[in-house]
Symmetry: C2
Subunit: 517 residues, 2 copies
């Protein structure tokens, strides 16, 4: 490509300026249409440029401005991510040239035409991705080319390349257990109960979690109501050394950074294949140093997996990858027809968790049972424990208060929470429109309603459920209560709930119509 | 998706501000992190927003700023393309909400998973594309999903949808001829000779051309040295009414606007499939009202098509689509081993063209011969002409001066050129490193060198060739001369030519190395 020939010193360099533009994960730079060093016209057809200072090189997407106030003719404006990553002071001199696409993109073009990737090609792609050399569009090209088919060899190479691209944790114990749920079910904060039980037993369980992306609460958002979660790798190691377990946000730990980039683009395009999900999860678990892994696959009409066939296909992929990398993976399918627990939203979910740990009488039984069951699976990894004794041991640790004590230790070790932890004072009760038994609850709609009410940004916003599937209600009785901090957000959520409460009372609506005539 | 629920009037609207950012074809808007109407945090995970004023709706990609000077808390900054397309005055009040992806993207997701598109789905995609509802990333998703396979039914639906998305030209004559070359060969400005010949004969040939994208000159760039080319649809019609032919830039005529969008993304990703090339060309020719079409496919080691097999596959695709839409398509393969003519770059190529039209003795014979051959094919479409008489008639029109006279008429009708038309005064001769016969010329490298020297922006920059394949040279004799307006650009081009002249003298370099030991 011609651009490479222009990587020279004959053009005057430009001075770095910081431009307050948050451009997400993509590096963006701005130059003047009257730039002294560059002729923007020659960039017609090249939206990517290369910034160079000494041996430091950054690729970025180029915008052009006529506003001298934004960027002068001898300057280059770096958006926030580009400025952070280039990490050179304001006023530094840099040379700028049109950038050729990363070489690894050739392999993506081959894949688009139906070739399979070689492992070395996947290594190069993940390396370029991790160093922010791919534009969002190029990331999309990689994802889509892989979405149509991915061979076993490609999947393994992808997991391996992603797992070694960032932090790789090592633990003193050869037995490092972990659990992961593929998400989609409101409530369902089992990790916050399973980790204290398992750690109280004495197994190592260094849990990192994500924040909510499209849901009203991630485990990290919920734990944050109780303790600090944005801890560094070293702090995380100290917590685990002291407590055997932790419940931290993965964001500062930098496990599988390529995964974060891929997910940000998958989300924008709403593409999500089994292989990519498995690569995402398994690369993070490998990087986290887990040796025993329990995967929770909720199945239900509004869950991520609609039926047992889909769940089985995904289970086999997890098992295959686990076997190849020497992680003992156990995959269980769980009931994903409705939320787990009564709260949806960080504060409300944290309350459910603490009620279960404290053995309160009104603690949600489904959350307790599911957590015990998952903890039992993990405890069975302990060779000291008699086969089949996991459940009894989990119950002993929970009922006897050891789990609550462990949770308190973890909270103390991670440090105090600094965020608001009151339930949204503004509320509205959504009532049953008919008499009958609850036959369906739409997980997607409840997630939407809780987000509309302000979760997860407003920690105390969300939904408290009064009824679950099978419960009988009479017309006018409350199904759930929406909580919010902000009146306009409550109004929006109420309006949306009035259009679609997410609950079906009586027979399925479809069947009801059929029997009407 | 939650975003839809937020399309409400309860949030205060924002005032439109114009932000001087040229963001290419993509709509981009900027809001303050302290926005009064929006909480940027809720956009985490939604990079696309919807601007609404009355019934007018525009989708855009969102950036966030902390700079109150750029965008205030009650404002929304519209980048240049967004401001132009939204077309509301500065200070207008607009409501802004997170935008769901266009519905037609569901079909793209299906295609990624291996489904074929229904024609109605392709219609919807092209409609959304043409209305700038797709982000660049979403355009990429469509292109890549289609690059792995495209059925005949899909290809036809795509051509149809693209051809009706913009201007559709109609001509009084049922016989409207056109020619098109898929590009890649430096020089090769046959259209500027073929059009005057064919128009002088009396056939209608309304030629629109593109500017260079990755090459040192497009037909529009070269014609611009001689006449105005950025004419409107109405002006183009007047020129054709007066002269039978024209040579204008397609940019203001808006034929197949979806194609321009697709090409801008294909170029960034360097993906280019036969089906997409055929859809691009045929949609433009259908929209242009052509009824007889000659396609020139140059074949050579550094051409777009490397061998006869690739050319045949493409030929069949063109023929198939032409037959379905009632355009008589004739596809010929031509020698694409080296540049056509002696000049590379707008001014130098225009000089070649005028030398051929004026029958100058030193006019490039290859450009003359190829143009005559192409013109002959087009003239054969005239039912009045005796079969096989095309070539003789073309030669008669060229040799007799009718073609030159017609070119002058077209130039006068389109109006005078306003651009610089002197050959770059700064020059450097690249010399043969060995004695021998020229065995290979790398079209890609010569294109790169001419661009590095400043073409097509600097009209008089480029390359003048002194030798072609088969010519004998002695060491030190000049192979070609690089011209430039700008010393630093000349230096860059010379440095690049010193590394790789693009010429092979004697046997192939690979073979020479093999015989060395």
């Amino acid at each position: 490509m011609a651009p490479n020939d222009k990587r020279d010193d004959s053009r005057p360099p430009l001075r770095v300026r910081r431009v307050s533009l948050d451009t997400g994960r993509e590096n963006v730079v701005v130059i003047s249409r009257h730039s002294s060093a560059l002729r923007p016209e020659i960039f017609r057809g090249f939206s990517r440029v290369e910034l160079r200072r000494g041996s430091k090189v950054v690729l970025a997407t180029l915008l052009i401005t006529d506003d001298d106030g934004l960027v002068g003719s001898d300057e280059i404006g770096l958006s926030e991510p580009a400025f952070r990553r280039f990490a050179e002071p304001i006023g530094s001199l840099v040379t700028v040239s049109p950038a050729a696409a990363p070489e690894s993109l050739d392999a993506v073009r081959g894949k688009i035409q139906g070739r399979a990737f070689e492992p070395a090609e996947i290594d190069a792609i993940i390396r370029d991705l991790t160093h922010y050399r791919y534009s969002d569009m190029e990331v999309a090209a990689f994802l889509i080319s892989s979405a149509s088919f991915m061979t076993s060899r490609e999947l393994l190479a992808l997991v391996r390349a992603m797992s070694v691209a960032g932090t790789q944790l090592k633990w003193p114990s050869p037995l490092v257990v972990d659990k992961h749920c593929i998400g989609g079910i409101p409530g369902n904060r089992t990790s916050m109960i399973v980790v204290p039980i398992v750690a109280a037993h004495g197994l190592t369980i260094p849990k990192t979690s994500s924040r909510a992306i499209t849901s009203p609460a991630g485990t990290a958002d919920t734990m944050e109501v109780l303790a600090r979660v944005d801890v560094s790798v070293d702090e995380m190691k100290e917590v685990v050394a002291a407590c055997r377990g932790c419940l931290v946000w993965g964001g500062h730990v930098n496990l599988s950074p390529a995964d974060d980039i891929l997910i940000s683009v998958e989300r924008q395009l709403c593409i999500d294949t089994g292989e990519q999900m498995v690569a995402s999860i398994m690369s993070k678990k490998l990087a986290a140093g887990s040796t025993r892994l329990l995967i929770d696959l909720p199945v239900g009409p509004t869950a991520k997996l609609a039926n047992a066939t889909e769940a089985m296909r995904l289970r086999k992929l997890f098992e295959f990858v686990g076997d190849q990398f020497g992680i003992a993976v156990e995959v269980i399918t769980t009931d994903g027809r409705q939320p787990i627990g009564n709260g949806i939203g960080p504060v409300l979910e944290a309350a459910d968790v603490m009620a279960v740990l404290a053995n309160e009488t009104d603690a949600p039984a489904d959350l307790r049972e599911k957590s015990l069951r998952l903890a039992a699976h993990l405890l069975e990894y302990d060779p000291q424990l008699r086969g089949g004794a996991g459940y009894a041991r989990a119950r002993e640790l929970l009922d006897g208060g050891a789990a609550l004590k462990k949770m308190q230790e973890i909270i103390d070790a991670q440090g105090p929470s600094t965020c608001r932890n009151d339930v949204g004072r503004l509320s509205f009760d959504v009532q049953a429109a008919d008499d009958g038994a609850i036959s369906e609850i739409d997980c997607l709609q409840l997630n939407r309603l809780a987000r509309t009410a302000g979760a997860p940004i407003d920690k105390g916003a969300g939904i408290r459920l009064f009824r679950k599937i099978g419960d009988r209600v009479e017309k006018g009785q409350p199904l759930y209560r929406i909580h919010a901090y902000d009146q306009s957000e409550l109004d929006l959520a109420v309006a949306a709930a009035t259009r679609n409460s997410g609950y079906v009372v009586g027979a399925r609506q479809g069947l009801a119509v059929e029997t009407a005539p």
